[in-house]
């Protein structure tokens, strides 16, 4: 078993190091015999080397260039990578649930968890097409944050113990997705807590008194059910992008050829509004700068509080925005193309300000909730705050203000909205 785990970790390491790793390889062939064959997955978790090969396209301007390259060269590989990590995460959870060296197994799971969620964070912040359709349904199915509620997941674990092998999970939004997985992963001993300000509910203390292995088994049942569900929707996402499936970039290309480049660009711009979520939910809420926070600060609202990945998630969100906004042929280049180079400069400056604030936050080596707990609110009033998280909030606000008032006007983009008339 230990050998398998070592191979698993090595596999991930190689994946990260080699971008062309996927060619002709399968998870199976690297890992030897799979410990289980989880339902809902293809028989072989094949990483299709041709998933993102859509052919060639000669772009006429930077707008077409951005749409084509971003979808075919950046986002599709990200989707493929995400699917790959989800597969490995599922396998590693299976491994950790069969017993053996729990400590190492949990470490592997946590490592893959980080890879999985950080890849997803990139996709969430640049959600073209399938990730944006139907009110971002897939994103909610896969992640379910901030709808997730840890109390609901806790009760699912207790139910899983009670019902044993007959357990079937209730996959309501409050108890599903990777947000729910995080709660379980960050609670390896599976000690349930009582709700805030309430007494213990029936069965909770009894559950905590169970032997470790029983609690762990119940947790595993829920984990597997959750990841099985995540896997199903990941497959849907992957199929929407894959060259052999929905081939979303080809659909984009077709629309570009039909004269709809501006419309697709607008959809891309709509997706980039995720950065508002960074501002309001991921920073403003914990920092107490958003009215959702009823106290001075709300560290409990930090994303990935359990696994401490709040800051890396912000980094992935920013990278996704940066690739589309100021990357090759990005929105900055388009501003130059229509004769507004000064706006391109400002856009790059605003993105750089957020980058600098995030870099300072990363340099502290602390998690976001640790920073929030140390926050002096009196100093969190503008972009010159000594607290990098505060600087990040105000820098994000400046960027969005600039985006909405200047970038949209110069490129004739509409703010996100459902289709409607105007005059």
């Amino acid at each position: 078993m230990k050998t398998k785990l070592i191979i698993l970790v090595a596999l991930v390491g190689v994946t990260v190091a080699c971008s062309d790793f996927f060619k002709g390889k399968t998870v199976d062939s690297e890992m030897g015999v799979r410990p289980t064959n989880p339902s809902g997955l293809p028989d072989k978790a094949t990483v299709d080397p041709r998933a993102c090969e859509y052919g060639e396209f000669e772009a006429a301007d930077s707008r077409q260039d951005l749409l084509w390259n971003l979808t075919s060269q950046t986002l599709c590989p990200k989707v493929r990578e995400f699917r790959y990590y989800v597969t490995l995460l599922r396998l590693s959870v299976d491994q950790s649930c069969v017993g053996g060296d729990q400590k190492n197994a949990d470490q592997d799971v946590m490592y893959l968890w980080g890879k999985t969620t950080m890849t997803l964070e990139y996709l969430l912040a640049n959600p073209l097409g399938p990730m944006q359709d139907n009110m971002k349904r897939l994103a909610m199915e896969i992640y379910a944050w901030p709808d997730f509620n840890r109390w609901s997941t806790k009760w699912e674990v207790m139910k899983a113990h009670e019902l044993g092998d007959g357990y079937t999970m209730n996959l309501a939004p409050s108890r599903k997705g990777l947000a729910s997985v995080e709660y379980l992963l960050s609670n390896p001993d599976m000690i349930v807590e009582k709700g805030p300000g309430t007494a213990w509910r029936p069965g909770e203390q009894e559950f905590n008194a169970l032997p470790f292995n029983d609690r762990r088994a119940a947790r595993c049942r829920v984990l597997k059910a959750l990841l099985n569900d995540v896997g199903t929707f990941t497959e849907e996402l992957y199929n929407a992008w894959s060259a052999t499936g929905g081939a979303y970039p080809v659909a984009v290309l077709q629309r570009v050829r039909n004269g709809e480049a501006q419309t697709v660009l607008n959809e891309l711009s709509d997706g980039l509004y995720y950065i508002e979520k960074m501002k309001d939910f991921k920073l403003g809420y914990p920092l107490g700068l958003n009215q959702r926070c009823a106290s001075a600060v709300c560290p409990e609202a930090v994303e990935f509080k359990g696994t401490g990945l709040g800051v890396p998630a912000l980094r992935q969100n920013l990278e996704a925005f940066r690739d589309a906004a100021v990357g090759p042929s990005g929105f900055a280049d388009q501003l130059i193309e229509v004769g507004r180079p000064e706006l391109a400069v400002t856009l790059r400056e605003r993105v750089a300000s957020i980058d600098a604030a995030l870099a300072d936050l990363e340099a502290t080596g602390e998690t976001l909730d640790q920073r929030v707990l140390k926050l002096d609110k009196a100093l969190c009033v503008d972009a010159s705050s000594p607290e990098p998280a505060c600087r990040g909030f105000f820098a994000l606000r400046d960027l969005m203000s600039f985006w909405k008032s200047e970038v949209l006007s110069a490129l004739d983009l509409q703010q996100p909205r459902n289709e409607s008339d105007g005059d």
Binding site: A261, Q262, E276, Q291, V338, F402, S409, Q415, N418, S420
Partner: protein, 447 residues
């Protein structure tokens, strides 16, 4: 004047107008429902922006708004068929006005036009010809009606074109080609004509053509010698706007309504239906009350669009006098608003993004419209009061229009909770930007 109002005219034009109006209403309402806009515009929003003086209008409880639409669709069909026409006209006016008055963020000029036409319909003998009312004996068949009926419609449709043309008579539109410069540059990949839009001259050509069209089309439509060609231009112009801009039913409405400028008997002639009796057999007596009513209506219609002159500053920036004025497609305006909320007791400051309370289309509209910003600030004040907090609220805004550098729309130092809505000039709105619009000059980047 007497002849212009009371001369007998053939009623087939009115009948055709009724049928087209009813059909457009039916299609428009069904489309609204089908697109999911009932839910988006009325069901999902937790806050609806009210028109000043119409705050009392509330959304139907439960699924009432769907029932409302269903009834209105049925009413439109009845109008098309000419069944209980007068009552249906009244119901359509009330029902459509209710929808429009529910939320300011849904305001569109062509919805306003439909409201006005629906109001006019109440007073017109729309069932005079080709109606179920006539077939069923509910109303006498009338082949001739007084001329004021058709001329009222002509006046109304003509007003839209005239003021839309007047709104374009300005530096931005004629000398800067804004906002068409922005809009057309973005349409450069449109098949066939798109490549033209890479060149600034095409933006100027379209700006001037639009101005000349709106300003003079009524004149050409009124002259028999030019009418047919002018109508072809109407169709071409509105087809272009349909292709280039997301303006929904507006082109269809205007192409249909422009038919009122044709002679009163054009449908009868087109369908080769002989007149049973000549107009000389009819005589309509002048009615002073009617003349007074029509005069009052006309006076309101020609003065309301000028009311922005009572306010200092540029109406395209401060929006004071913008609505109900036929300033159609004359500005590209984008902006952002964040509300800084300061607890008066603790001094704690929080920032509210409107998206936490508003749907995107509402937020978009509000972010560049001062009276809506004020209204939302008052809504926030109530929300915080429900939590027992006494707060001061400041709007931190940025807005750009017609390619000018963005600047704050609202004075950030003004506590909006201390301001009441009124018709007085909004001194808390910042002066418009003094700079000229940046003109886009597309050049293909080296690849």
């Amino acid at each position: 004047m007497r002849a212009w109002l009371f001369k007998p005219i053939h009623s087939s034009s009115l009948a055709a107008y009724r049928i087209l109006f009813g059909l457009l209403g039916t299609v428009g309402l069904i489309r609204f429902w089908y697109m999911g806009w009932i839910e988006r515009c009325f069901v999902r929003p937790e806050f609806l922006f009210k028109y000043y003086g119409f705050e009392w209008i509330k959304l139907w409880p439960g699924d009432g708004i769907y029932v409302h639409f269903a009834i209105l669709i049925a009413v439109s069909i009845c109008l098309t068929l000419g069944l209980f026409t007068r009552w249906m006209s009244l119901l359509f006016f009330l029902g459509f006005s209710y929808i429009e008055l529910l939320d300011q963020s849904n305001y569109l000029n062509h919805y306003y036009l439909v409201m006005l036409l629906a109001f006019i319909n109440i007073f017109l003998p729309l069932n005079a010809l080709w109606s179920l009312d006539g077939k069923l004996g509910l109303s006498p068949r009338r082949e001739f009606v007084p001329a004021w009926t058709l001329n009222w419609l002509r006046f109304q449709v003509g007003t839209v074109y005239f003021f839309a043309g007047l709104a374009k008579f300005g530096k931005d539109w004629l000398l800067e080609a804004q906002p068409l410069n922005i809009w057309l540059t973005a349409h450069r990949d449109l098949p066939v004509i798109g490549s033209l839009f890479e060149y600034t001259w095409s933006h100027f050509a379209m700006s001037w053509a639009g101005f000349i069209f709106d300003s003079t089309i009524v004149f050409w439509m009124l002259i028999p010698a030019t009418r047919r060609f002018a109508y072809l231009v109407v169709i071409f112009f509105h087809a272009m706007t349909f292709v280039l801009f997301p303006i929904g039913m507006f082109p269809f409405i205007m192409v249909s309504m422009a038919l009122v400028f044709f002679p009163d008997d054009w449908p009868a002639k087109l369908l080769k239906i002989p007149k049973r009796i000549g107009p000389s057999a009819f005589h309509f007596n002048p009615r002073p009350a009617l003349v007074l009513g029509l005069s009052a209506y006309a006076l309101i219609q020609v003065t309301v669009p000028f009311r922005h002159l009572l306010y200092p500053g540029d109406v395209l920036w401060n929006e004071e006098g913008m609505r109900f004025s036929w300033k159609v497609m004359v500005r590209e305006k984008n902006g952002e608003a964040t509300f800084r909320v300061r607890d008066r007791q603790t001094g704690a400051v929080q920032y509210v993004s409107p998206s936490q309370y508003l749907l995107r289309h509402q937020e978009n509209e509000m972010s560049t419209t001062p009276d809506m910003i004020l209204q939302f600030a008052h809504h926030l004040q109530k929300k915080f009061a429900e939590e027992g907090k006494d707060v001061a609220i400041f709007a931190e805004t940025m807005a750009s229009f017609n390619g000018r550098t963005a600047k704050p729309l609202i004075d950030e130092q003004v506590d909006l909770t201390a301001i009441s809505e009124s018709f007085y000039p909004k001194t808390w709105v910042s002066p418009e930007p003094g700079d000229s619009p940046h003109r886009l000059k597309f050049h293909r980047a080296a690849r």
